[in-house]
Symmetry: C2
Subunit: 218 residues, 2 copies
């Protein structure tokens, strides 16, 4: 059984791998965990001993098959709890992550099975991220950062790439939500920002950064 710290580190390594980074470095991991490199280095050794990651000194880490499975189960729990908080307890989507960070460590297979049933087997968390099934399988339709699509493109807002608090608050403020219909009207060459229309109604300008963080369906 993994400790709370082991679970959090393993999840971080998995998430960093997903973001393209292969051979996750000690410094990057420490930064993500809010700890120092020495601590991350110790943990890499420990997770490696448990064969949850492939790791060699100075070489960086990658999740192993069993590590990936473990990580996905933790992520499954995290996202199911986030759905619960929003759907049942009326949390705002920017209030759920911290609490889910705690709830994801509760040990009870029955609890997760029943929670999944209670929530009617949701496929997405409140930020549009897919919820792995009990075997760690993820099915996700193709989605694209708004900033990468040309003017004229129309799609639905299906997720945010990095669901940070401030970004979600900003989306609330400007009226962008999951499921909103969004048409790209123009791309400003000067700064890479986008002019968009939401639900055929409101026109908005989104910075390059915002556009990179909003994911659209085809």
């Amino acid at each position: 059984m993994l400790s709370l710290s082991e679970e959090n580190y393993l999840k971080a390594i998995y998430h960093l791998s997903e973001q393209g980074k292969t051979n996750v470095s000690t410094n990057l991991l420490a930064e993500h965990m809010g700890t120092k490199a020495a601590s991350a280095s110790d943990m890499l050794k420990k997770l490696s001993q448990k064969e949850l990651i492939d790791y060699g000194r100075y070489q960086g880490a990658n999740v192993s098959e069993s590590g990936k499975k473990m990580a996905l189960q933790i992520i499954r729990k995290h996202r199911l709890w986030e759905v619960f908080l929003v759907e049942k307890l009326k949390f705002n989507w920017n209030e759920v992550h911290e609490v889910a960070e705690q709830l994801e460590h509760i040990k009870s297979p029955l609890l997760i099975k029943r929670l999944d049933e209670f929530l009617n087997f949701p496929k997405k968390d409140p930020h549009g991220s897919p919820i792995p099934d009990e075997h760690g399988e993820i099915k996700e339709k193709p989605q694209f950062p708004l900033a990468e699509k040309p003017p004229g493109f129309e799609g639905l807002v299906v997720a945010v790439k990095d669901p940070g608090n401030h970004f979600l608050e900003y989306l609330d403020k400007i009226g962008i939500y999951l499921g909103a219909k969004l048409k790209i009207v123009d791309r400003i060459t000067f700064d890479g920002s986008s002019e968009v229309i939401i639900d055929n109604k409101k026109t908005l300008f989104l910075s390059k950064e915002a556009g990179a963080n909003i994911l659209l369906s085809e």
Copy 2:
């Protein structure tokens, strides 16, 4: 902020105090926690330093005012989660305690406020124990162990004193549940057992121990 261990020890001291024991002893506490006396002794010193208990070397411990408040908040969370598990996730009443033992440590005032609302402000947990309100107030109607009431007495089953797994399973098996109407028909002098009728239907014999653990309303 209290650590997980501190919370569990404090709660244990509170529960033991409630069971009549004044000046909770190191050994008794250790036994309840499944640890050794040395560990309990260390923890008593620590909780005393934080002024959550009144304690002097060799003198035993009693919860202080602030300690009682803390303990009742943890118990509030524990019991709200138990209600959630039974009412919403269809757990049996004998499956909830272990999971609630974990869930009670989740730190989020908003979560508990919303959970309480979601459950429609329950006053009792699935074993009939009262749920303290947000100020730590408990209101409970008088209740009596079945074994202490004479033949002829009629009342409702309102709680079990010590909701251990095996006892709850046993109650399920013989058809006793919270809210059942129960009439005491006879008391057997030989072994202190009781003959009872449930819901004016089924006649049963209950051991002295079982009778002491079933609480009836007036």
